[in-house]
């Protein structure tokens, strides 16, 4: 167990290092000069050089990257912005705010959107998939399967406004989506995020319905499930205690793989409903060629995915006694 965590933490650090380096060097492939943004309309060349120097952009690339990396652990003194305490991710070129605090401010929004949606699509997807598998070949199965095909083709930016129009504007059933901190008002948090959750989860729900159905059908044909039936276990027990146990493993696996897509979906969702989360930061950072922000957002996104993947691996060990965490 201890070895498992040591190994995974080292692995995670390496992954994050690679991702940040790749982002860093890719950014310099974009032919745009952020120093210009600080320089104003009329920009004398010597000013530009000074700004570049203050931003540290006149140093060799790997030196810049090294400073950035070390800054995360030790903090650094940035000429343009002043002292930046550890963990220092620098300051935004575009808004001048601290990248780290901008991300921390918005992190709860994105986590609420993604994890809430995950709860919605996992529960709906798995339940409908189980019903479809239980009713294999019968009308309910066909309804579930057809609905999931339609669901899978619905896009967030298309469905989002429509749902808002009907549910919020016409019928007034729910408030317009926004973020209210859970700690302030749990109920408000819930009702204001319900629409984003449902809309973001539509595509995933469909996938999980289909997948749950097919892995359940597969599991039901397994030898050990047949044994359970051969020893007189009721069909419900066979379904819920034996087949489902085996079906959880591929579902958890796919969930681990889907996390990156889920964060991608959160970006679109935040755009669609103008929620001020990390996704919005990311989009703006790209638009503004805002290197520090872009790096920070990438790092935090990758960090979350890596951490959640470790959680997924721990889950495996709980589901399947054959899995040893080593």
């Amino acid at each position: 167990m201890f070895r498992f965590f040591v190994r995974r933490v080292i692995g995670a650090a390496v992954i994050l290092l690679i991702i940040s380096a790749v982002t860093f060097f890719l950014f310099y492939a974009i032919p745009r000069d952020p120093a210009r943004a600080f320089c104003g309309k009329i920009c004398p060349p010597q000013n530009l050089i000074l700004i570049r120097h203050n931003l540290g952009m006149d140093e060799p690339l790997f030196v810049q990257y090294w400073h950035w990396l070390v800054g995360i652990f030790t903090g650094r003194d940035l000429v343009q912005f002043g002292q930046c305490d550890a963990p220092c991710l620098g300051y935004s070129f575009a808004t001048q705010e601290s990248v780290f605090s901008a991300i921390i401010d918005r992190f709860p929004v994105t986590i609420s959107v993604t994890m809430g949606a995950a709860v919605v699509f996992l529960s709906f997807g798995i339940i409908t998939g189980m019903i479809a598998a239980w009713q294999q070949g019968r009308p309910l199965d066909k309804i579930a399967s057809t609905t999931s095909v339609i669901g899978a083709s619905l896009q967030i930016y298309f469905v989002g406004p429509i749902v808002v129009f009907f549910v919020v504007d016409s019928m007034g059933l729910l408030p317009r989506p926004s973020y209210i901190p859970f700690t302030e008002d749990p109920l408000g948090w819930f009702v204001h995020l319900l629409i984003p959750w449902v809309v973001l989860s539509i595509i995933f729900t469909a996938n999980y319905t289909r997948m749950t159905r097919s892995v359940m059908v597969e599991q039901l044909a397994e030898d050990y499930v047949r044994t359970a039936r051969a020893k007189g276990m009721s069909s419900r027990t066979v379904f819920l205690r034996f087949a489902w146990r085996g079906a959880m493993i591929p579902i958890v696996t796919i969930f681990g793989v889907d996390l990156a897509t889920l964060f991608g979906g959160a970006i679109i969702t935040e755009q669609t409903f103008t929620l001020h989360g990390i996704g919005e930061l990311a989009v703006r950072a790209v638009q503004n060629t805002d290197l520090p922000m872009l790096l920070g957002v990438t790092l935090v996104g990758a960090f979350s995915i890596v951490v959640l993947n470790i959680v997924v691996d721990v889950l495996y060990a709980f589901i399947d006694p054959r899995v040893r965490l080593a």
Binding site: D223, T227, K231, G232, F242, D320, P321, R322
Partner: protein, 354 residues
């Protein structure tokens, strides 16, 4: 040895009959390619306390016919005809709850591959004791004690601690013992063993078979043993049923079928299987031709496309009319050759090859 009668009596109403009686069992699967005739009018009996060996090449319907005894086929895609009588209870038409009460209780089954056939997610103790709880209404503690007793009985050392282990923590032979313990936990009257030793090495194989024999002696369990291994048949069973294309083509005592087989397919089968006591290095002769398609089974005698002797019978009787098992009792087979012809061919050229 108990004698077995293969007489055909009207299925309903039934007087005192054999312990298990399968009558004209047909099993058809509807698949995308068409209807698979996996079992076709199969009949056999099993007496209490005896062992019936079922042999036949892969795909001949051995597993499918036995799974029907437990009603384990998926109802939506399977059509089952005929009758299966377990004493005075008919099983083909039995309700789901009747079958659930029967399975693992009066009739138990062990499968070929104990690794895939046991749940990898539950401890063996739980897998054994839940059967006892379910059928005997025992408490947790009682069924746990029973599971320990069973593991002990099938020869697993330190039963008490091994109860908490998962199947993957056992060796192949020990796993099959666990399967047997699980099958026997409710003292079943009938045990169906579908190739129980195929996945095991020879020494373990012998141990498992001895174990089954002992259990039969102690508890009077009737056993159906499906196997590919004629050595196992010779040592373990009382009666033999040879299946081909979902049908019974020869039945008799183990001596009758192994020493003086009547049916040309049985000859081929015996010649194609390795013998325990063969002293000559004769090459194994696989049965000529390919196994029959069950989507479109051959007309008449299902073996006719592969049979070397059909010319002895006549122009096209073999390919048009299905031979029934005869005579009514004892050593029976489904082939048009006369008994004299069968004896002559067997003694003349088959025997030396076995």
């Amino acid at each position: 040895m108990t004698t077995v009668t293969w007489d055909r009596e009207p299925a309903t109403p039934r007087g005192p009959g054999p312990f298990l009686s399968v009558r004209d069992l047909s099993v058809q699967f509807s698949t995308e390619d068409g209807i698979v005739h996996a079992v076709d009018r199969l009949s056999f009996d099993l007496e209490k306390g005896t062992t019936l060996g079922i042999v036949g090449e892969s795909g001949s319907g051995k597993s499918v016919s036995n799974l029907s005894i437990l009603g384990l086929h998926d109802k939506a895609h399977t059509k089952i005809g005929g009758e299966i009588w377990l004493e005075d209870q008919e099983l083909v038409s039995a309700s789901r709850s009747t079958l659930e009460r029967l399975r693992g209780n009066r009739v138990a089954m062990i499968f070929q591959d104990p690794l895939t056939s046991l749940s990898p997610y539950h401890t063996v103790g739980r897998q054994i004791s839940e059967v006892f709880r379910k059928h005997k209404g025992a408490s947790k503690a009682e069924s746990r004690a029973r599971a320990i007793e069973m593991l002990d009985r099938v020869g697993i050392p330190q039963a008490k601690t091994r109860l908490e282990d998962y199947p993957h923590q056992f060796s192949g032979g020990m796993r099959q013992r666990v399967m047997i313990a699980m099958a026997l936990v409710c003292d079943p009257d009938l045990l169906i063993a579908d190739e129980p030793t195929t996945a095991l090495d020879v020494t373990v194989q012998a141990q498992i078979l001895d174990l089954l024999k002992d259990l039969q002696q102690d508890f009077g369990t009737s056993i159906i043993l499906i196997t590919h291994d004629l050595g196992v048949v010779a040592k373990t069973v009382h009666n033999v049923l040879v299946m081909y294309a979902g049908r019974a083509i020869e039945q008799g005592t183990v001596q009758q079928v192994l020493r003086e087989p009547h049916h040309p397919y049985t000859w081929g089968l015996l010649a194609s299987m390795p013998k325990l006591n063969s002293n000559v290095d004769l090459p194994l002769l696989p049965v000529r031709g390919t196994p029959p398609s069950l989507l479109n089974p051959p007309s008449g005698c299902p073996f006719h496309p592969r049979c070397d002797y059909r010319d002895l019978v006549g122009p096209d009787l073999c390919s048009t009319e299905r031979p029934e098992l005869s005579p009514a009792d004892g050593h029976r087979d489904a082939c048009y050759l006369t008994l004299a012809q069968k004896r002559e061919i067997f003694n003349g050229k088959i025997k030396e090859r076995l």
